[in-house]
Each structure stands twice: as C-alpha cells, then as structure tokens.
Amino acid sequence: MIRWFVFVLCTLLFLPAVGHAADASISGTVRSKDGKGLEGATIRVVGTALGAISKKNGSFVIPLAKAQDVTLNVTMIGFVQQTVTVKAGALDQPLTISLEQDMLKLQEAVVVGYGTKQRQDLTGSIARVDAQEIAQNTYGNFENAIVGRAPGVQVISSNGMAGSSMTIRVRGVGSLTASGEPLYVIDGVPVTQGDFGGTNRLATQTNALASINPNDIESIDILKDADAAAIYGSRGSNGVVLITTKRGRTGSTKFNVSLFGGSARETHRPTYLSGDEFRELWAEANRNDSIALSILRPASRFTAKPLPGAMDPALYTNTNWLDQTMQVGRILDANISASGGSEFASFFSSLGYRKESSYAVANEFERMTARTNVEVNASDKVKIGLNANLNYAVNDRVPVAWAGGIGAAQSSALPYFPIFNPDGTYFEPQRPWYAMYNPVAQLNENTFTNSEQRVLANLYTSIQLPANFSVRVQGGVDLFNFTDRRYTSLVVQSEAEAEVRKVGVANWVVNGSLNYSNNELTPDLKLSALAAIEAQRSDQLVTGLVGRNFPNPAFENPTSAVVREGYSFETGFSFLSFISRWNFTYRDRYLLSISGRTDGSSRFGSDNRFGFFPSVGAAWILSNEDFLKGNDAISLLKLRASYGLTGNADGIGDYQWQGTYRAGADYAGTPGLRPDRLANPLLGWEQTAQLDITGEAAFWDGRLQATVSYYSKVTSNVLLNVSVPASTGFSSILKNVGSFENRGVEVVLSGYPVSNETLTWRADLSIAHNVNEVLDNAGLPPDAIGGPGETRILVGYPVGTFFINRSAGVQSRTDTVTVQRRRSGNNVSFGTDPDDTRWAQFYDTTVVILGGSQLFYNINGRVTDLYDLSDRVPLGNPYPTFFGSLTNTITIGGFDITAMVYFQFGNQIYDDAAKRQVGNLASNFNQDRDQTLPRWQQDGDVTDVPRLSLTENYDINTDRFIYDGSFVRLRQLTVGYTLPADVASGMGLSTMRVYVTGQNLLTWTNYPGWDPEIMRDQDGAQGRNLGAGVTYLTPPQAQQLVFGINVGF
C-alpha cells in the first residue's frame, strides 16, 4: 500500500510547471474601513488564473495579458469579500478597494474533515476556536483554549499541575465503560492520544497531547453532530477535534516573537486542623467514647486510644504540611515563528519553548517544539506540502491524592508530626506507609520523570484535474516515544526501587481522495463531492525493567539492582475506511449534505468487520429568499437539521473480540495455558444516532447573532461486560448491549453592542443544557458496573449517579427513639426496584440512641440507626445541567480587554475523602477544619456532624458528602495594549503588544473542598465516565497570572 502511495507522489512531483507572460496591468490599494492598508488580501481576476496578494501598505499590481474589462474578487480573512469591476479604459487609474470587517464570517473556511466548507454552506454543528482565541490561553496545552469557546463542549483539566491530563465531553458523556474522549485529528492525521504513564501511578495520568504547541495551531474545529462527525464514522461519536496548524500566506516574510512569564498557584486551599487542634479533638473523641461506653455497657472498662504515630510527646509540633508541599509555580513560554510566501511556495516555521512548575513542589513540565509547514505550487495545478513537527517534553511528576505528596499533606501526614527528627533525619512514625506520613521525604527523595519525543509529519499532494475534479493524496506519521523513569528511595521504602519503562507508538495513516466541485452544475445548482479511501495502523510496544535493592544508594537505574524484573507489552489496531460526501446547494438557499463512511477495523469481530455510518443534513437559508433579501435588519436566517449515525470504536480494546488463551497457568513446574476470554465475533462499535435541529440568525450585518440548537443523541450497542453463567468457566463477555441518551439545547448569543473606529465591544454568551439518562444497562445489578466513589449505571438515572446511603441527621440528645431495622442483616443490595419482595423484612423497635449519633434513612425512607448497604439509593447528577460562558472583548484605542466568565450549574460532587476528613479522626487523617468544628459536642447540639469518636465506624458513604458542584468563575481576564502602528514602525516593528492575563482569578461556589472543577482521572475510561462527580483528595485547578509581549516584524 505504501508503495502505491510513494509511486503516486513521485509521479505528481515531476509535473511540469506552466508559465505565462504580461503586457498591461491593474494596480491599487486594499484598505480597511478605517483607512489602514491591508496586507495579505487576495485579489483575483475572475475567469483567469491571474491575481496578486496585497503588500504591506495594501498595494498590489496585477499584470494582464491585454487591456480588457476585468472583474476583481478581493478576499481576506476577517473581511467581507468584495467584487469590483474595472473597465478596460480605467485600468491605468489606481484602485482603492475598501473592505468591511466580517462579523458574520459566512465565508470563513471551516475545517470539516477531508476538506473545508464555507460557514454559510454548513448543514451541521461545528464549533470553531481560532488562533487569536488560542493565543489567549496561557496553560500549556491546547485543550484549555477550548474552555468556554465551544458551546456544548465541556473541557476539564484533571488538575492544575504541570503536564496534567484533560478530558473533553462533546454534548454529554459519550460512553459507559469505553472511552468518552473525542477523536483528535491533526492536519488530517488521527493522532495518538491519552495516558501512557501506566495504570494508577501517582494518582494522575499523563497527556500525550501535552507536547503539542498551542502556538502552532491555526484553528480547532470541533465536530459536534452526526452531519459533521459521520465523516469520521466509527470514531465520531464522542465528537472530533480537528486541529489545523498554521500555514504561510503569500506576502513578505513576517516574524513573530511571543514571550510570556508568570506564576501559578492553586485556585483555593481548604484549611485543616493544626497539630494542637488535632490533639485536642482526639482527646474529645476519647472522652465521648468513654461516656458512650458508660451508658451502653456500664460494666466495661474504658481504654483511651493513643494518638497515631506512637511518638515521643516532646516531638509534638504544628506542621502545615501543605505549606511544605505547595509553592508558587513559575511559567515561562517563548515562541518565535516566521511565515511568508510567494506565488511559488509558502511556509510557516516556528520554535517553541515552555517551562513551568506548578503549585506542587517538584512538579515541572518542559517542552521544546519545532514545526515547519511548507506548501509548494509545483505548477498552477499541483500543490505539494509538508507539515513536520518535532516535539520533546519532559514532565517531572509528583504523587497526589492517595499516592502521597499534596494528597498526603492534607490527609495522612498528621499536623503534630514533625518533618525532621532532632538529629536531622526524616521523621518516620511507622513503616511501611512511611511516604504517606512524611510527604516532604517522599518529594525530596523520589523521582518520577516522563519524557516524550514525538514526530508528527504529513506529506500531501493535490492536483487540480480537468472538469472540476481534483485529487489529493496524503500520508502521515505520528511517532510517539515515551519514557518513564521512576526511582523510589531507600529513605521512603524498605527497599529502593527503580524502573525504566519505554512506550513506543508508531501510527501511520494514508489517504487518497477525489474531489469534485462545480459552482455552476446548472445555473441554480452547486455541487461538491468527495470520495476517499483511508488506511491507518497503530502499533504500541511497552518494555520495562524494574530493579529492587541496590548495592549503593547512588544507583538509580534498575540495571544495577540486585533483583531485576523485565516486562513487555504489545498491542495494535488498524482501520480501513471508505468515505464519501455530497453537498448540493440549490439557488443559494437550499442545502443538502449527504455523507457516509464505511469503517473496517481490527477491533471489530470477524462477523462484524465493517460498519456503515451515514448522515444527511439539510438547510434552508431563509434570508436568501426573495421575501427577505435586502431586508436591512435580518442579515441571516437559516434553519438546518441533520440526522446520522456515528460510532465509538476507540473504546474497544484491541483483540477483545477474539477468544484467547493466556500463559501462566503452570502446574508442578510445567508451563500451561488457560482460556482467558470468550470469543464474540459480533463485537463492534458503540453507535450513536444523533438528531440536530438548529436555527441561526444574524441581524444588522452581524451586530447581533444568535444560534439555537436542539440535539438528541441516543447511544446504543454500548459495550458492557455482561455476566455469563460461571458454570461456563468464564465470568463475563464483552458485548454491545446497553444504551443511554444525551439530549440538550445550546444557545449562543453574540453581538457587537458598540463597534466604531475607536471602540469595539463584542459580547458572547453561550449556554448549553444537557440531560443524560441511562436507558438500558443490560439488566446488570447495581454493583456490576461501578466507578470511583460509589458511582453507578442505573436505568433512568444519569451515568455515574451516586448510589449511596442517606443520612437522617445527628441525634441531638440521648433518648429513646423508634427506628426501623432489617430482619436479616446481609449487606447486599437487591437493586432499586421498591416492589421487590425481599424488601419486606423490616420491623420497628425502640432503642436508646446516644446524643451525637449518626442516623440514616433506610430504603423505605424510615429512620434507622444501622448502616446497611441495602439502603443505598441513587442520588445526584455528576454532570452539569447547564454550563457555558460569557465573554466580553473590548478594544478601545490601543487597549484590549477580554473577560471570560465560565459557569456550570446543577451538578453534584461526591467527596470520597470527606468521610475520613469531616469529624472522623479514627481514619488517622487530618480533618477539614471548617466542616469538622461544628461537630456535636453536647446534648442539645443540632448539627449534621456526629460526635467525634474513635470507635464508631464513620468510614461510610452517605449523602452528607454530596455537595453542590455549581460554580461561576472568572476564567480569564486579559488586558493588553498594542502600540500605534507608527510608533511600532519607528522601532522597526510591524506590531507590538504587551498584556497581562489572569486565569481562574475568582471563583464563586458553595463547594467547600479544593475546587469544584474536578476530573478524577486515575481510573481509566470507565472511571472517567462514571467518576465525573467524584473527588478523593483530587488536587485543585491552577490560577495563573502572566505578563506577555508579542512582537511582529
């Protein structure tokens, strides 16, 4: 296959170029409305191949073969296209062409996958983030640039650490057990994405896309509905993120230097008990237990529980472990790029460097990138291009949450522990969980470094053929090389341990497409069509070596260890696809788009190897109808609707359909095999049928624009591990059985309340509403599919609803109370069906309840004193019912101000650590100060925090720890100043802008924890889908303040 591609490419390379000669000419200047010369406008002589690009002051000259009447078509990005007719006799008079700023952007080219479309021709929903918006993002990854700029697209950082992973949900959660992340395509190459840091290490994940430099990106187009995404077939269900990198434009070479630096800190820090407070509360808990025992079992003798750590009381101190493990991070980001072009070739070339540390001590991310994109016009019909990108990134990772670091500092590192012993050695209350008691030792002595080298390159040739046909052939590679180095010191662990782990992913894709485009198929009908074939293959190899116990502590490479253990892992997949798309436009007002893709994949079962994903979209541009044409108020009125099928194939593990045997079933020293998996030759993609209905309107030349979309996405054939009878010798089989639904509304309002020569004010409001509901979970019992923090998949509830006991408050004073108890006390949930006869096993009884005791509601809604897992009920929604943003951009004189407020409402957060950190000292965790202090202390106290105790089991999940996760946050505030053009040119520059940007400066929320914007990313795809509303010591988002300068020359 490769051979064919090379052959075609070589043939195309040797096409002869065609030249031409000149006699007359036309010249002029292109200006903006305020009179400035516009550089880079394209002026084409209609009906010929002649044209020019305006120079720095806007001037242009086009040589003509002979003096004649000409029609010029002038286009420039961001401006309304203009057509000017010049008589033959007027050719010698210089023209002045004044372009109007394009607020409607109807002619803007939107990347749609295997091509582009003008915005006005769209029949599907595509959100676009452009280079200017991307440039405002000061976080290290491009995903953060999407936050608040793509309606209906939820983008969340796992945390604010350097190099953190991201999650994106397009119009709601996309899967149950399989990946819910969109497909990322960079310049036509579906790239390697996700976490390669190994499962469950450090309680965080890595982000393969973090090595991409956001500064190289021209646009991010997010395909949201079936009309747009069906062209990516079996991989389009979760949306597709199309990334187009920057291209050179014809004109003089421009250099651009951008530099910014600043600081990063956590958005919010909760307070925990001091050492003295912890010891006081510990004593109070012992007192409470003593009193309780004297009431309940007067004959028994009370023994006070000693403070954890069994340490010399002389060493008691007050250590603020968070101060020891957190810092103010530093950011430095520098980019230089050059771009330009002639009629023969254009190029964009850039170098980028970023180094940042985060609020977490010892956490650092460093990235170096280089990119060159070149396109050569080999002839007037043939274009050859190369996009090449080299990336290198190093990430010093630190543990968080249950793995230590900040997570230990807020929990298991108790505040009365000192950091050091008097002799200067690390304080060590107890092995083997030493690291969790002294995170300072852990951060100082251990290292965990990832490095990533990546080559992304693609080569393409496009040929204009006669009769409106063109051909494009493209080949791309994404070579991803990832190295983990881990060292755990002897100081922290009884045995030093080192590991080197290498992950290599070789991913290539080849495609060829035949395009047809005819604007006048008949006078009223435009047609553009595409037929394409694509093949992709990705192979992954993981190898590693672990070493334990070193002859000298100076060794940090496993090879030098006494005990060594190697391993390797391999996997891979392939796709073969056939793609077609047909767009009809009738009389500029009726649009029809039909697309289809057939995908075959190695991941699909042998009896289900190919899937077909069609879509149809139609639009009616009412504003082009005669009855509205020329209406001064209404500039655009468009109705569109689409329906189609997409799939989710990226969630199916490689080879999962095959029945297999696995090694390792040895007996008596003889190696043996065991059956590992049942075959499912029908295994396939999850399928989403999506309906999208959208109305678009613009008034007063785009001064006010509104878009309202309704969508309904029903995902079926959802992959679930369905139980098979154990008497088969297996426990489950992966099948396409479940279904769920996302439906919602997106509203976007944007406008220019003021737009004149001195002041432009643009306001954008977007609100997305999504309802998610599980329709079918294959009848699996509630505990069959669980996520972190007691999240479940229950029919009629949102994905990842909490399945949890309800607190009935705290008994105010010791008294006899009638409670309902269950006869047989087996801690088993039967399900959610209240009519199940097994529930009918209750009796009422009157018992003495001590003041300060936790009470519960049982499944019948009656108060009970006994905690029973059978009393769990579905509660809450981890996904917001509304989210969106309000962005105001004001340009006044040389100043520009951008303020983005991001908000989300209606979601709940289950704080899985709160049961150990709110009034539960027996957990040996430090306690959340604000939530613990209002505890029950004496009879008559009314509170929902039970009396402190070291004997009661408070390590239980109840709805006390479900919090409202709504928040409003000032996501971005930027103030910039651009030097006047004459001042800049006096300095030899074309542009110069200085700015200050703050990210996440302010947050309004009722959530008492670190940060309401959470994404617990440690648990793989299922955990991500279900655990959207769960936190367990999850670190907060980052707040950044940076100063930057951009210089162009």
């Binding site: 296959m1 064919w4 591609f5 052959f7 040929i463 006669p466 046909f469 051909v471 052939v473 080849v510 060829g512 035949l514 074939i533 093949a535 892992f569 391999e570 996997t571 073969l576 056939f578 075959g600 994949s601 190695s602 699909f604 042998s606 190897r609 080879y655 095959q658 029945g659 297999t660 045997y661 696995r662 079933a665 040895d666 007996y667 008596a668 020293g669 190696p671 043996g672 095999l673 065991r674 059956p675 590992d676 998996r677 049942l678 075959a679 499912n680 369905v722 139980s723 098979v724 009878p725 154990a726 008497s727 088969t728 010798g729 297996f730 426990s731 089989i733 069959a784 047989s824 087996n826």
Partner: protein, 448 residues
Amino acid sequence: MRTRFPAIAVTALLSLTVVSCDSFLQTEPPLDISNDVALSTPAGIEAVMVGAADAMQSGALFGGNVMSMGELWSDNVESNVGADFGRLQILTYNLNIFNPEGRSMWGDGYGVINRVNNVLAALDNVPFDNPARAQQLRGRALAMRALTMWSLCMYFAQPWGFTEDNSHPGIIIRTEPTLGDVGTQKARATLAACYQQIIADFQAARTLLPPTDAPYMGSLAVTGLLARVYFHMGDWATAEALATEVIESGVYRLNPDVTSVVTTNSTPEVMYEIVNLANDNASSIVFDFRQADNASPRYWAGTPFVNTIYRNATDGRLALYVYRNNRLYVAKWDRIVMNIPILRYAEMYLTRSECRFQQGNTVGAVEDVNVIRERAGLEPLPTSQAGNTLLNNIRRERNVELAFEGDIFLERKRQRRDLKDKPWNDAALIFKIPDIEMNANTLCAQNP
C-alpha cells in the same frame, strides 16, 4: 500525460483497497493465543491440560477449600475466623449467593471442567503421532472432570439419598467446551444424573490411564476415588472390590510413620496429591491451620474430636497435634509449601473395612481397620468384635485417621448424622448457587 492522471489516481486508490484488505484488518494478539491456535497441536493440548491441573490446584478447590470448608461445618473444627465474611456465613448458617468461598469453589470448579472439556474436544480433532499419549491425556481429563464434579456435588447439592431416587438437583453437567456466548444457560441435572456422569468418567479414565501418572491421577488413584463414590452411595460390594483392586496392586504402601505423609511430599502412601512449589503455591488449607509459626491459627480441633483422639493416649497420631493455650492445634498442614494429599492409601483400608462390615464380613473388617490401628501404634481390635461396637470403632478410626482432610463432611452426610446441631440434610449445610451463576442463568434452580 495529463489526461492519464485520473486513471493513475483511480488505479492507485483502488489498489489501496484491494491490497489484502482482510489481512490488514485481521491481527493476532501478541500476548495471547487465539482459541484455534492454542488447541491445534498436541503440544498445545498438553499445555491446556496443565492449565486444567493448575485450576485444580486453586486454594478454592483442591488447594484447600474442598477439604477445609467441610471441616468448618463439622464439629471437628473450632475456629476464630474474625470478620471473615464467607466463613462467618458458614458458622452462622446464614449463607447467601455472595459467599466468597462458595463463589470461588463454583467458579474455579467449572474453570477446571471447561478446560478439560476443551482438551477432550481437541483430542477428537488433533491427530497424535503417539496415540497412547492421546489416550493418557483423555484419561487425565476425564478423571479431573469427575473428581471436580464430585466435589461440587458435595458442596452445592444435597447428598446421595436426600431423595429416594436421587432426583433432587445436583449440579450443572457440562461436557462441551464453552467457546462463545451460545447456549451458556443450562439447568442443574439430578444428583443421580451427576453421579452417573461422574462414574462414567471415572470408569473411562480407569481404562485409559497407566496405573500411576504423577502429578496427575493414575488409574489406581481413579479406582480409589471411584471406591469413595460407591462407598458414599452405599454400594458396599462395588466399593470393596475397587478398594481391593488398589490394595492388591501392591503399588502403594502405608508409611511406617504416621506423620511423614504430611511432613514429606509424595510418600508411598499418597495416591494423588496436588503439587505446590515455592513459586507456584496456592494452598489455602495451610493458611487456615498452620500453627508452626502462628501462636493462634484460626482453626483448631473441636472438643468432640479432642475427646475422640485422647481416648487412646498412646495414639501415634497425636504427634500431628500440638496442645497449647488449652487448645489442640492441628499440625497436619504446617508447611508453607507442601503438596496436598487428596487421596491416600490408608483410606482404602478404612473404606474396605466398613464395606466388609456392612456385608457381614466382620473378621475382614477388623483385619482392615487393624492395619490402620497398628500403624498408629494402637492395640488391634479383637477379631471377635462385631455389631455397633465394631462399626463405631471403624468410623472413629476413620475420623481420627482422615481428620482435617475433609472426610468428616462426607462421612456425616453418608451416615446421616448431625453436623454440629444441624441434621445431615439441612439446607444450611450446602452453599447457595452463587450470584456469578444465578445472575446469568435463569434455568439454574437455587438451593432453598
């Protein structure tokens, strides 16, 4: 040249598709072997056979629980199981479908059965250069299936004789490998049908196997296990004949010393044992009983058993116990890595002794039981002994000799005697069919 471009492009595109589209999408997993490959050669079948033996080695099965769970139900054992969920359910007669011991025994048991069924199916299709080897593998597979089914019947079904015609539910009979999601639901067969299958498998294995086949069951071990089955069914004559066949083969002999069968692996007395190695050790019974370096293991000998064994202070088998803290700890399962005897020669004499007694041959019965008594250093019973005195002595001897090896659970049910305070046929003396079966098999009846 120009006009040919569409032709070239189209050709190129078409080639892209035609070039072995199937092989491009068909990939073999690098870390696993697909079913077809795994069982396509004699060597592959051998490896799956080993995998089946590995499943038997599981602590949930013959690595321990098949013996120790029954002991826990009986008064041979007293215990402190702490908060162990599964064992507490047994002790409190509050079993449910989630009992971890029941789940793992059922799951692992059928793991064995599915693996041997795969072997048996493959043996029908793959030609062997050495047909005798194929016969041997078939014998191994059938013997493993029969022994596993028998043990599952003991724990998940009411015993033989619970109904007159044994039409009560046994277990699910699976004799075909499960390869995909087809026909996975199946009802339980009657206990009679289960026994029929077990006997047929054992009988077939007897003819296919060489006399010994360590570390697997040889034909003599199969004969001994079949004797156990017939003994349980009360078919004295057949059980006696089978035991006699083993005894007269002369292949096995009693160890002179009563302790060496558990202090040393593979002694001449052992007819079938599960082999554990330091790097492949799955025994769970050792975890329950081991007292050598554990001052208070969770199982120890119960008072009735202590009274039984102390009736003869000269019993050499007392060397297998340690008296400490007013408790008699069991030292039979005291090596961290030890082979687990599943069938030993002593049982042949004890079985034949009662068979002879039941058929009126008291002299022969005394003769057999005395072989065991004398080895233990006890006075032989007088040849004149008869009646209930003799029967009780034979059964007492059997309990002392085979104590803590799982025999009492079978014996009490066979003898229709109480296990602690529950009658032999009480529903609380068997596991529930676990959730891992019930959730996906609507045809499977639950134990009451």
